[in-house]
Amino acid sequence: MDNTNRTKKIYMDDYINSKEIRELFDEIIVKGKLVINTKEQFAKYNAFLKRMKEYVNDERIE
């Protein structure tokens, strides 16, 4: 694995563990269950989902 790929991989975990994602999941996970109440949460959640798909597909290509 070259350096670029390694950076991407760290970047993905970095994103998952970032403060914004932690805050989002503190809001939308209630007792292990995904509970989305507001439009804003829904938008943020879908943005997260989209971003994750991108990362996963990137990893597959590598």
Binding site: I21, F25, K31, K33, L34, F42, N46, V56
Partner: protein, 432 residues
Amino acid sequence: MEVKVYKYCENIYNETTGEKQGCKSNVKQCQTKGELPISSGAHGQVYLCDSNDKVLKIVDKYDDLEGEIGYVKYNNTKFKKGEKYKYVAEIFLPFEESVGNAPNYIVMENVVTLDKYVELMNKRITDVKQLFNAKLLLIRKLIEALKFLHLRIGYCHNDLKPQNIGIKKEMIENQSFWMIKFIDMGASVSIKPENRNKMYLIEYGDRLYQPTLMFSYPLILENIQQDYYRDMWAMGCIMYYIVCEKYMIIADFEPQIYKVLMNMDLDSLSYMLCIDEENPDLRKDSANQCINDAMLESRKAFNNVLNVWYDAQTVPFQQISFITTIIFDFMYRSVAQCYEKTDMYEELKQTTQTNGGANSHNNNNFLLSIFEANQGKQDVKELLKSNKPEEAIYKQVHKIVFEHRNKSKKDTRDVDMLRNIVYLKINATKKI
């Protein structure tokens, strides 16, 4: 100590005619004395009542009981006596004294939950053969119960997990039997005949759109519902839990579960079930992307249990293989490699593409520009700040996922071939 009384009805619907008969003569009372709840979920709390024979579920708002009420009202004329609640804990609706004042509680049968039952089983049974038999019987009963719920009752649970499966002891002709009882039907829906072989999108705000992450199948990430697959995946995870007391899909933090589910493929599944050892046809590298440290621990525990069973010599190999095979069989259909090749997925893809709407193209471009893979973290942050997303845009997300999948490197291996390899691998253990 404050005593609260909750009135509920028994047999609100006539068992033979299915008509609502009211409950003037069948009103019962459920009392709580201010004790702490025995469990609490995302929408409410559960308390013991009626001499611990029943439980009371109190929710924040009446709408949260839609699933349970739907099940009570569901097609009562279709079943023989006792069938509807054969594998579902009986639900009693509240007694409504005045119209328009909808009570926010229901009363249910009290049962022991599966997680506690498995814990007790592991503590009390020390003999390997006996413990294996108990687990095998439990797994077989679970399969039977799920099959009955899906095919005879025509209902899917949608939120299966050890905490939502109950065990109830029943006395029949002076002999005690224990029965599986599904509880918490809050996300359950009836399987419509047209949905039997179909996938459909879950809308925002739908009560189905509230999965428990550790037991939710990969399709949920695309907002897709398949009535049978969803429960089957969860049941596979539950069977895994019964075997080794560890969850198959687990992570230290919820977003990591998404990483796991998105990367889940047949290789990773085989790896978690310890059936890919030294098999050149199953690639290990992709498994590594999917599996985190917590899941490695689970796999280790699962492997240890299998080894103990193999070493004991008293447990037939075929029965061990049965357990691994059945878990694999319940789960492999929900893996992207398999469902992407089904007709129902293709059909859904076609439908969503044709119903795209006039602005969908622009929205896709907007999102793709935000999430370009080579963009730096700061750039993305700035973009998100300046272009705050709106809900309308995100209704198109599943389309972007389809498009993106097509661009990325696809796994072209034949699913049936892979499945057969796994089966051969499992069956090979018989000859050892």
